[in-house]
Symmetry: C2
DNA sequence: CGCGACGTTGATTTGCCTCAACGATTGTGG
DNA sequence: CCACAATCGTTGAGGCAAATCAACGTCGCG
């Protein structure tokens, strides 16, 4: 917008930039110079509900930080059925990690469940940033470590627990998400049908009445 | 053992050290000084078949690199059933990531499926090494990224595929592991009973005869 | 208002489990 | 080196968890 060379346009929305700084601040400390560098590299994107961010088969060139709203990352099988792999509400990151890091066609699709504001970095920008701000390696190492632990515990849950136990776990782990996301999508996330989730909910309700 | 300040004992077995250098070399380039630093910090451990490396409830203080042999990481549920979460053959890493990184009691157990040789680093040593050799942040970031992708695809598989499809996938992905590991443990990894795996194998055999 | 997507409920089917019995293999102590 | 026990993989009968199919009421949205 502004053409002055001393202004920092195009530059991301201040509130959203604050949000992502807080997120970085969870694992590393950035000085003002580094913050500025980041601010100049971050890109912004808005999605409306049901709008698609990534389609399988494409290259996933970016890694996205969700400032507001919510994304779902899902897999579409040969029969055309969709399976939600995870949800990314505010302050979470989303990408097709394999496509992003290995430059292979994406296996996943990403779509907005609500109107969503994103900040994002392209692969090449991020590689550049790793050089300019080595601390970012640390940040993403820890981010990946935590994601690793999260998916590992999902696997553990899926090989050792019943659907009812998995649902209970989901409720406890993401109480707010349960309110925002339709049962259909939660069922898909849990690996069961909406019909069966409805049954489970009915049963647990009756158990709590006693 | 040796008391000479110029000798490098205790120091790890050369062949094993070469192996782990190759592994680091997959993602980063180390100079001789850095290699030496690493060599002095790495510790060595041998396990006999069925020997336990980690019990749930303990703190997992180390991250292990498998030079030879094979480990299994498993979860024991309230009923006492064991569920294999993953296998670590040569050139793979193993730890209870959550316990290791957050200093919380381990949820997993780790045990040797074969006589196994390990190299390992403690948490504090690794944190020290991140400072001395910042490239290691990059290495472990990529390692975690790949682990993340691997577990994400396991979750995808478990919510979208039948046991038979998951078994086929396992065979294709780890053809050598299938030979080394008992069906009992593979079944546990797939989240099914040994009885049912046996059935699946029988069916697929008959299908291939046609 | 009227349509389509969603959640619920019931009847039936299917994938996978449990239990039990049996050979085959492994491992261990005499 | 053999004998025995223990573990493993296979097979069959029966049971349970979750899927499928279908019908119906409700809600959000054009």
């Amino acid at each position: 917008m502004s053409l002055g060379i001393l202004t920092l346009s195009p530059v991301v929305n201040s509130n959203f930039f604050e949000l992502i700084l807080i997120n970085f601040g969870l694992h590393i400390v950035l000085n003002d110079q580094e913050k500025l560098t980041l601010r100049l590299r971050l890109l912004e994107k808005k999605l409306k509900k049901k709008e698609q961010l990534l389609a399988n088969g494409e290259l996933c060139k970016n890694i996205y930080f969700v400032c507001s709203g919510c994304l779902r990352t899902y897999y579409r099988d040969k029969e055309g059925e969709e399976h939600n792999v995870f949800f990314s509400p505010e302050n979470w990151w989303a990408t097709d990690m394999l496509s992003f890091s290995h430059h292979t066609p994406a296996t996943y699709n990403i779509e907005a469940l609500e109107d969503t504001h994103l900040l994002y970095l392209s692969f090449t920008t991020l590689e550049q940033l790793y050089i300019e701000i080595p601390k970012l390696e640390r940040f993403f190492r820890i981010l990946m470590q935590n994601g690793f632990s999260l998916f590992q515990s999902r696997v553990t849950s899926s090989i050792s627990q019943s659907a009812q136990q998995r649902y209970k776990r989901f409720q406890q782990q993401y109480p707010t998400l349960e309110q925002r996301i339709s049962q259909k999508h939660i069922a898909s996330y849990l690996g069961i049908t909406p019909v069966f989730l409805s049954m489970i909910r009915n049963i647990t309700l009756q158990q709590k009445k006693l």
